[in-house]
Amino acid sequence: MKGYAKYFGKKLVWVLITLIFAFLLNFILPRMMPGDPVAVITQRATQGMTSASAVRSVYEQYQELFGTNKPLLTQFVLYIKNLAHGDFGISFSQYPRPVGEVLKSSLWWTLVLQLPAIIIGWLIGNILGALAAYLKGGYDKALMPLSIFASGMPAFGMAVILLVIFGVKLNWFPTSGGYGFDMIPNFSWAFIWSVIVHYMLPFWSIVLIIIGGQAIGMRSMSIYELNADYVKYSRFMGIKDSKIIRYVFRNAMLPQITGLALAIGTMVGGALVAEIIFSYPGLGYTLLNGIMGQDYPLISATTLIITVMVLTATFAIEILYGFIDPRIKAAQSD
């Protein structure tokens, strides 16, 4: 158990260091933007006002409110304070709502959409890839180019194609939103059904893309393992094929798990754009609104949440990996 503690401790330290870096980047980068975001929202708020001094005082009031007139260090303290409160400051574009409130609901939509999609896509992809390596022949020849094509396809491209075929042409599924636009979220069957129906297209567009990439990786890994000496030796020993296969795929699976930990950030990025195509009320759509509304508290909070999500997922996978791969424990207890 001591070996594990060391392994997890090391991983945890890395997560924390990365998190601090992410905080800093999130704070600094948007503030390097040329132009004055407060001027933009003042302009919006003072439309029709003619008196320059009135505009001036509104501007100053906003500056005071958002803290943009203070030195960077004070702003940083303010940023940390807002973070600790969990409200991330006040949104520019949806003033006076706090950013935390804007993000609260969209975070759940994204989590419920992307987490299952990535896991299921990863599972199906690995099974298909392993089958391709094992069966070879026609199945492999058909699956490989398809997988390469799917993994090269941008997530939004797949989203648009599914949307046009199943949403517009066949009219099986609705084309936008997270639930019927005429509904109020509640726990009735009608609402849940509406959510499920709206879920289908975004979900499958993410799953299909992930299947492609994972199938390619798993196929290569399985071919490596199938050609390994221990497989040949086991065959000489007359061990049953089904038993060998189990070892082979367990070994091939390990790099795939690390691969998932490293690729999850990219996957989430692609999936966020797919959300936008479907106007799904998740973080991707919120991010788009933030960008359109020049709302940097919203943007920086969204990117921070995405980073934290990805970091947590990576950490979780690494913990899991530590338990699955016996070599980790062996290496640490030396």
Binding site: F21, G35, S220, I291
Partner: protein
């Protein structure tokens, strides 16, 4: 070198990928030589014109007429205005008007038109019919006027002095114009987009820009990754620790988030295509650095490198002659992957509204962004978005295919 190339071109995957990529590249280079139109010039008044050959009507009337007697001309002319849907709609109206169903035969054009002309009244209110539907019937009625006529039409011009119309000629129903004699014919193979621009010309130019973005970003990322990887791997010690510290951090922070933050911080005004490429390049070197470092570490203690060291060769020479050739194939594969993921990254950024500024050059991502904003996918204007998706997918498919082919050549374990 020659042998390696031969081997590479024996891999069917590489050859197919290479052929697709070359086809796209050739199209980008050759097309502008023939069509010298500005890719962003607005030529159409209105949005989303369908793909097709656009013949100038004025010129067609003015070009020499040829008389052709074709049997099915009249039938086609009627079918063009009176399709199955229109016949159904007419039947619906007539039924609502009180004409018994067994008297209406929608396959008998003459009888149907007769009933329509005798019964349709544009002012009549049919109970339960929406206003839009009423307007539709009014338009249908107007378009059907003279559909069964067999005479030609008279062309008249206005006399500038008196303002009266004077007959200048007639066009008979059997008159044809030879399309090669009509001076103004424009082929819009992919129609026009939401701003009224020729989609094909725009697409070719956008593909060129996107490939350029991919290349610039890929080269930057690969160069940074290669240098850092070499330094960390070969020098080891403190350099290795520092490089690995940053590499570890940037592997976990999602690149996409960094891209969004940086692109946003640059501001709309300063975001050109090359700027975006540089930003993508500077955020995606991590993978190459990691991989190069791992390779260099395994090479560092090989005999031939030790021999070079003992012979007192300078570090630069050792790196160029004893290390780089061994990792060259790997670096090229990494470069190809970087190019394809940079093209995808640009597209993703553009959809978010963080792509290159929109006034200078089109990119594949921007075209997609415009099509999405104007809801081309909902409106069924496939030519505005589908070719763009296919182009992006084909570019990255061909690059990935080349990469898989190379992998099989250089990686004996993967050979079939």
């Amino acid at each position: 070198m020659k042998h390696t190339l031969q081997q590479v071109f024996h891999s069917p995957k590489f050859v197919v990928g290479f052929a697709i990529f070359m086809f796209i590249l050739l199209a980008v280079i050759v097309y502008p030589l023939f069509v010298r139109a500005e890719p962003l010039a607005i030529i159409a008044q209105g949005t989303f014109f369908e793909p097709g050959i656009y013949v100038n009507v004025y010129d067609a009337i003015g070009s020499p007429p040829y008389i052709l007697h074709l049997d099915d001309a009249a039938a086609k002319r009627i079918a063009g205005k009176l399709g199955d849907q229109e016949r159904q709609d007419m039947k619906e109206w007539l039924l609502a008007d009180g004409i018994p169903e067994n008297e209406i035969d929608i396959t008998n054009t003459e009888q149907l038109m007769d009933q329509w002309v005798n019964n349709y009244d544009r002012t009549k209110q049919v109970p339960g019919m929406t206003y839009a539907k009423q307007r539709y019937y009014q338009r249908l009625d107007a378009s059907l006027e003279g559909i069964l006529a067999t005479e030609g039409v008279t062309i008249a011009a206005q006399n500038p002095a008196t303002g009266a119309l004077e007959e200048t000629g007639t066009v008979a129903q059997s008159d044809y114009a030879n399309i090669s004699q009509v001076p103004n014919v424009r082929l819009l193979l992919l129609g026009t987009d939401n701003f009224g621009r020729d989609v094909l010309t725009e697409l070719i130019s956008a593909t060129g820009t996107s490939l350029l973005i991919g290349l610039v970003a890929g080269l930057i990322a690969t160069t940074i990754g290669l240098i850092l990887g070499l330094m960390a791997g070969y020098m080891g010690g403190v350099v290795d620790d520092v490089v690995m510290f940053f590499t570890n951090i940037f592997t976990v922070i999602p690149t996409f988030v960094l891209l969004i933050l940086i692109s946003y911080s640059i501001g709309q005004e300063k975001r050109g295509a090359v700027t975006i490429a540089v930003v993508i390049g500077f955020t995606s070197w991590v993978w190459t650095a990691r991989a190069v470092r791992a390779q260099v570490i395994s090479l560092r203690n090989r005999d031939h490198v030790s021999l070079s060291k003992l012979s007192g060769h300078p570090i630069a020479l050792i790196i160029f002659t004893d290390i780089l050739p061994y990792i060259a194939s790997y670096v090229i594969m990494a470069l190809i992957l970087q190019i394809s993921s940079a093209i995808l990254a640009e597209a993703g950024l553009s959809i978010l509204g963080l792509g290159p500024k929109t006034t200078e050059v089109p990119t594949l991502g921007l075209m997609m962004n415009w099509a999405m904003i104007y809801q081309a996918h909902i409106l069924g204007k496939w030519w505005a978005y589908f070719p763009v998706i296919i182009t992006i997918a084909m570019v990255s498919f061909s690059l990935n295919l080349m990469n898989t082919g190379l992998d099989q050549v250089y990686n004996p374990a993967l050979r079939e």
